[in-house]
Every structure is written in structure tokens, then in C-alpha cells.
């Protein structure tokens, strides 16, 4: 790694990026204070401005990271804690694709991937990122070239093909962490199998970074990830209050630090502040939706391109998403981060994530969420290009209605590709479902 590049990167990451993000944040804060209330929406979260600054700084730092420090591109469910002590700048292609989806640039990028032969049925996050790589375009300015690719199969098997493509296109070393799908409970042989792969990952990450992974540093990184996950869980739990102190849709955005900064102290600091603000709002009786009438749980990834319209639709009916399986997935395994020695803990945590569990587990989790959050119903997003999350939703819906008396509706859309979203049809279903709840 060149010294000059390192100096430039440090200057950009520690001075220029924060200065630009700070100026933008000050401007946004002024605009927020001057903004007229939009009833029935409650006052916006102050931490929303801070969140944008964090995301801006994170992507800004990435622009100059390659050549200055080791760079890894990883799946959202990869054990990033191994990479943090080695000084990696970590890119999350899924988060990048979500940003593209929310900024409505995903369509062009998906089309670029399709022109290169990738099927339209492929995950739209994968198409967005592959398209961004092939077309050399991204709304975040620039993504640093990877030295290492880490693909953990705990979220789906699509990532295996996706990361092989990234390896082919970038020439970076690819390491897999294959997590056996859990039919039932996590067993010792599952942990042992995954642990061996995490050890291999650590060795490869050390080789690429040219430094040794020290156990105290790994333990610190794990503690940091655990604390952030607990704090994120507490932030989400504030929505158990009636009315919930924030608009549930915002949680899809506020989960960014637990994904991209997991294992770094910045994530903990952010969630500590967010939790403080949410508790303050709760104590003062501030509602995310004034006159909250309907409380709903969301299953699956969000429809990034339509979150604003979904928010307006729900607010107009005084309905709030008080919980989502997607946002809660980032806090549910927090206690496992301290299960045994660091490598066992990592193996247990990352094998136990929601999408690596059977439908019975998901059904119990959904019923539990709905009960704890006092939800009246569940909105199932049947995600056209995310089959692992969507398979079984009709059965889950029937089971929840039959065994727990919690009704649900299935809405077809897509997490990132707006061409696969028929908003009028989806909105009609959601409206009719809320009408039926009375």
C-alpha cells in the first residue's frame, strides 16, 4: 500500500469527508427546523440528519481506500468482525444496491447487467451491483476496488454466483463461508464446520492485509458488534410503545450502521444517540404517526423504490410498521456474539441468522414479533427477485391467521428493480387489507 495514497486517503476520510458531511448536515438540520409539520407524521428524527452524514462519510472514505488500505467486498451477513482489526475498508454491495434502489438509479444498473447476459430473474441487488461494476457508474461517486471478496451463504445461495462474478470481473481473491441451512436448532457440528471456514477466512484476510490478527482485537471487534446489535434491538423495541415514537419505515434506513459499520465504535455511538432520542420522544408522548390506529409487521426486504409512497399510504390510514423481520434480523442474534471463544461465537452467530433458518423458526419469530409489538396484521412483501425470503410466505400467512389469529396480506413487488413493482396493484391490496382490519 503506497504511503502517499494512505496519506491522501486518511486526509479524505478523516478531514474532507467529515467536513463535507458536516456542512451538508448543518444545511439539512436548518431545513428540518424550518420544515412545516406534515400531519399525521410526527416531527422527523434529528438523528435522520446524522444518519445521512454517517452514510456520506462512509462512502466518501471509500473513494480513496484502494491502494491505501486493504479493501474487502462482503455479503451483508459475512463475519466482518474478522476484518475490522486488520484495517480493512469494507464495501457492502447489498447496501450499495439499496442506496441505488432508494435513489432510483437501480433500473439503469440492472439493465446494464442484463445486457451482459444476467437474467432479469436474478436478485435485483446482484444485478444493480454487477451493472454498476460493468458500467462503471454509481450514485455514491466511486467504490474502491476489492482486494478480497467474502461471501457468506447465510442469506441465500445467489451470493455464491454473484461473488464468483465479482471475482471474475475484479480479479480479487474470493473466500466463501458456507453456512449449513438450519432445519431446527444449531448443533455443535454446524458450529465446528463454519468455525473452520472462519479460521480460513482469517488466515486469508491476514495474508491480503499483510498483518496478523490479534485475539484481543478480534474480541474487541466482537464486543463492539454485539453492543451495537443490542442497542439497535433496543431502538427497535421502542416501537412497542403505543403510539410508536417513530415511523417504522425509517428503521429500514436507520439499519445502515448495523450493516456497514458493524464491529466499529461509530455504530455503537450512533445507536446510543438514536436510542436516547427515541426514548425522549416516547417519554414526551411524541408519536411517529399521530393518532396511530393500525400497527403492522413487515416481512421481507423493503420496496426501496416505493418507500415514500408506502409511507404516505400508511400514514394516511394512521397505520405504522411497528416491526419488520428484516430490521429485527440484525439484532436477534446479538447474544450469540459472546457464545464461546471468538471463532465459535462468530460461527454460531452467522449460522443462526433469520434467512438461514427453517420456516417453523420464521413462523415462531413472526408470531412473536406480532404479539410483542401488538400488531394487528402482517404485510408480506413477496419479493420477485428474492426467492429465499419469499418462499413459504403464503403458508406463513395462513399459519399465522389460523394458529395466532393474526391476519396477513401478500403483496408482490421487488426490493430494488422498479420495473417489477406494480405500485397501484400493491397499494390496492395494502389499502384493502387495512380497511378489513377495521
Amino acid at each position: 500500500m503506497g504511503l502517499l495514497r494512505r496519506i491522501r486517503h486518511e486526509a479524505e476520510a478523516r478531514l474532507v469527508g467529515p467536513a463535507i458531511a458536516g456542512l451538508n448536515a448543518a444545511r439539512r438540520l436548518r431545513r428540518l427546523e424550518a420544515k412545516a409539520p406534515r400531519p399525521p407524521l410526527g416531527p422527523p428524527l434529528r438523528n435522520g440528519v446524522r444518519l445521512r452524514a454517517i452514510v456520506e462519510r462512509y462512502y466518501f472514505a471509500g473513494r480513496t481506500a484502494d491502494g491505501a488500505r486493504p479493501v474487502a467486498w462482503v455479503t451483508s451477513g459475512a463475519p466482518v468482525e474478522v476484518l475490522r482489526p486488520l484495517g480493512y475498508y469494507v464495501v457492502y454491495p447489498e447496501n450499495h444496491a439499496a442506496v441505488c434502489g432508494a435513489m432510483r438509479t437501480a433500473r439503469d444498473l440492472c439493465e446494464a447487467a442484463e445486457r451482459a447476459g444476467h437474467s432479469r430473474d436474478l436478485c435485483s441487488y446482484a444485478r444493480t451491483d454487477i451493472g454498476a461494476l460493468l458500467a462503471g457508474r454509481t450514485p455514491v461517486g466511486r467504490l474502491p476496488k476489492p482486494d478480497l471478496l467474502v461471501c457468506c451463504t447465510n442469506i441465500c445461495q445467489t451470493v455464491a454466483g454473484w461473488y464468483r462474478t465479482l471475482a471474475r470481473e475484479t480479479g480479487a481473491r474470493l473466500v466463501f463461508v458456507d453456512t449449513p441451512f438450519l432445519q431446527g436448532d444449531l448443533l455443535p457440528h454446524h458450529t465446528a464446520y463454519v468455525r473452520r471456514q472462519v479460521e480460513t477466512l482469517a488466515a486469508e484476510a491476514e495474508r491480503v492485509a499483510g498483518r496478523e490478527l490479534r485475539m484481543p482485537d478480534l474480541e474487541r471487534s466482537l464486543r463492539s458488534a454485539q453492543d451495537a446489535a443490542f442497542l439497535w434491538g433496543e431502538c427497535l423495541a421502542t416501537a412497542r410503545a403505543r403510539p410508536a415514537p417513530w415511523v417504522g419505515i425509517e428503521a429500514f434506513f436507520h439499519m445502515a450502521p448495523i450493516v456497514v459499520l458493524r464491529g466499529l465504535d461509530e455504530a455503537q455511538a450512533y445507536y446510543r444517540d438514536l436510542l436516547g432520542e427515541l426514548r425522549e420522544r416516547s417519554a414526551a408522548g411524541v408519536a411517529g404517526i399521530e393518532g396511530e390506529r393500525v400497527r403492522l409487521v413487515w416481512d421481507n426486504l423493503p420496496i426501496w423504490s416505493e418507500l415514500r409512497r408506502l409511507g404516505d399510504l400508511l400514514a394516511a390510514r394512521r397505520a405504522n410498521l411497528v416491526a419488520a423481520t428484516y430490521t429485527h434480523a440484525w439484532s436477534e442474534c446479538a447474544d450469540l456474539f459472546s457464545a464461546g471463544d471468538p471463532f465459535d461465537a462468530i460461527a454460531a452467530t452467522y449460522t443462526s441468522v433469520l434467512l438461514n433458518r427453517d420456516l417453523a423458526h420464521r413462523a415462531r419469530g413472526l408470531a412473536d414479533l406480532a404479539r410483542r409489538y401488538g400488531a394487528h396484521g402482517v404485510l408480506f412483501h413477496s419479493d420477485r427477485s428474492c426467492k429465499p425470503y419469499s418462499l413459504g410466505q403464503h403458508g406463513l400467512r395462513d399459519l399465522l391467521a389460523r394458529e395466532h389469529g393474526i391476519p396477513g396480506v401478500v403483496v408482490e413487488a421487488d426490493h430494488s428493480d422498479p420495473r417489477s413493482v406494480a405500485w397501484e396493484a400493491a397499494a390496492g391490496r395494502i389499502e384493502a387489507f387495512i380497511e378489513g382490519l377495521g
Binding site: 391476519p407 396493484a425 384493502a432 380497511e435 378489513g436
Partner: protein, 256 residues
């Protein structure tokens, strides 16, 4: 106190419908027109025409449903078609437990709850194969008027196999069948049965039981209702003026 007229507008994808109910709960006016692209203009003009002769003593309360419901001016409520069809059908057929609405653009099975509320519903997805537009397009392709369908199906000795579940591919399939010399009545019967298969599958999703009342333009197709009844084992009867049920339901939801 004068109870105002309650008016329901169903601005659908194919037809624009309106029903007015007086203070005594009687239907005093109804209208059915081909949908125009500008819902606002059509609604203003048509409502003025429909309500003009009634000389209402108080301003009517208007509720709008259908795909164009957000663009109907002055509506006090904008229920979805599901709520509107459920309320309308329950008012017309209090013994029914399920509504089968086959409109121009979508098909819905709605299980009725207490007070005409939609307890559960299922709709066709983005494919148009189970909808009125599917039947309309394919009949038009064959050059057969709606009124001729009953006799044609009754006279068909067998149903041609139309396996496709896609409206576009089904049309191609029909062209192929005709080219291969399949008798037109058999093809029409095959069409009706293929539609009935899809509707029966939709009904199965909402845990049916009891009598089914059919609404929407396709409820006029009696062979289709008979085919659905045969598949579900439940009685299926058309609502009176089935195309107006959504507008009627909207009118009922316009106020007490």
C-alpha cells in the same frame, strides 16, 4: 333533518359506474358508461347529468371506488374496490358468504365478514388471464359477441384444452386451435372453463363456504358461473345488476 343523497362512483378500468341512494335507502339513480381517460371530467359531467333531475335538497355525499377513485372530485370517502364490492354484495345478498368479482382488469374473491366487511380476499396477480379483459379480448379475436356465449357453450360437445395461464399466450393458443380446425364453440367452452379454473383457485385461497354472489361485468356470463359452481361445489349466482355493485357499495360507505 334531511338526509342527503349518498352517491357511489366506481371509476373502473373499463367502465364508469354510479349509483345514488336516497335518505330512505332506495336506489334512485344509476349510470354505466365506458371509462374515459380523464376521470375527473367524466365524473363531474356524468354526476351532473345523473343527479340533475333528482334536485337534491342537500349536497350529496359522494364516495369513490375503483382504479380512478383518487381522481373523482369531492369524494368524502375513497374505499378500495374490495370494500365497496363486499358492502354492495352483502347489502344485495345478505345470505352470501363470498363475493366473486371479475372486473375488467382484475378478479377478486372476497370472504364476507360481519356487517359486509371484507374478512379476507385474494386477487389475481399481475397476469390478466383470469379477468374480464381476457375473455373480452379472446372473444373479440374470435368475432363472437358476449350475448352469443351462453348458447355457444351449451351447444359445444367438448371443451378445447386451453392450457396456458397467460392471457397473451392463450390468444396465440386459440389462434393455433382454430387453425387446426377446432370447432369455435369448443374453443369458447374451453376458454370459459380455463377462466373458471383460475377463479376456483382464487376462491380456494380465502377459505370458502356458503353461497357465492358474483359481481362485475363477467357475472353476466352464466356458463362461467356454472363452471365455477361445479368446481367449488358451492352455489354461485349473479348479483342483480352485477356491474353496479361496486358503486352501490361505495354509496353505502358514503355516510350513514
Amino acid at each position: 333533518m334531511i338526509r342527503p343523497l349518498r352517491v357511489g362512483v366506481d371509476a373502473g378500468s373499463t367502465t364508469w359506474k354510479a349509483v345514488a341512494i336516497d335518505g330512505e335507502g332506495r336506489i334512485v339513480a344509476a349510470m354505466l358508461l365506458r371509462s374515459e381517460p380523464r376521470v375527473e371530467e367524466q365524473s363531474e359531467r356524468a354526476l351532473a347529468e345523473m343527479l340533475g333531475p333528482l334536485v337534491p335538497e342537500a349536497p350529496p355525499r359522494v364516495a369513490a371506488t375503483g382504479y380512478g377513485r383518487r381522481r373523482v372530485p369531492g369524494a368524502v370517502a375513497r374505499p378500495t374496490e374490495i370494500a365497496a364490492h363486499a358492502f354492495g354484495a352483502a347489502w344485495l345478498a345478505p345470505d352470501a358468504s363470498l363475493v366473486l368479482d371479475v372486473g375488467g382488469q382484475d378478479a377478486k374473491a372476497i370472504r364476507l365478514g360481519p356487517g359486509g366487511r371484507a374478512a379476507e380476499f385474494a386477487m389475481n396477480d399481475r397476469c390478466a388471464a383470469g379477468t374480464g379483459r381476457f375473455l373480452e379480448n379472446t372473444l373479440s379475436r374470435l368475432g363472437i359477441p358476449w350475448d352469443a356465449v351462453d348458447d355457444m357453450v351449451r351447444g359445444a360437445p367438448r371443451a378445447a384444452q386451453i392450457s396456458s395461464t397467460c392471457a397473451v399466450f392463450a390468444e396465440t393458443e386459440i389462434v393455433g386451435l382454430i387453425a387446426d380446425g377446432a370447432p369455435v364453440p369448443d374453443v369458447v367452452r374451453g376458454l370459459v372453463e380455463s377462466l373458471a379454473d383460475r377463479l376456483a383457485a382464487l376462491i380456494a385461497q380465502v377459505h370458502p363456504g356458503g353461497a357465492i354472489v358474483a359481481t362485475g361485468g363477467v357475472a353476466r356470463c352464466r356458463p362461467l358461473l356454472a363452471a365455477v359452481a361445479a368446481r367449488t361445489g358451492q352455489t354461485v349466482r349473479p348479483a342483480p345488476e352485477p356491474q353496479l355493485v361496486g358503486a352501490l357499495g361505495a354509496a353505502l360507505l358514503a355516510g350513514p
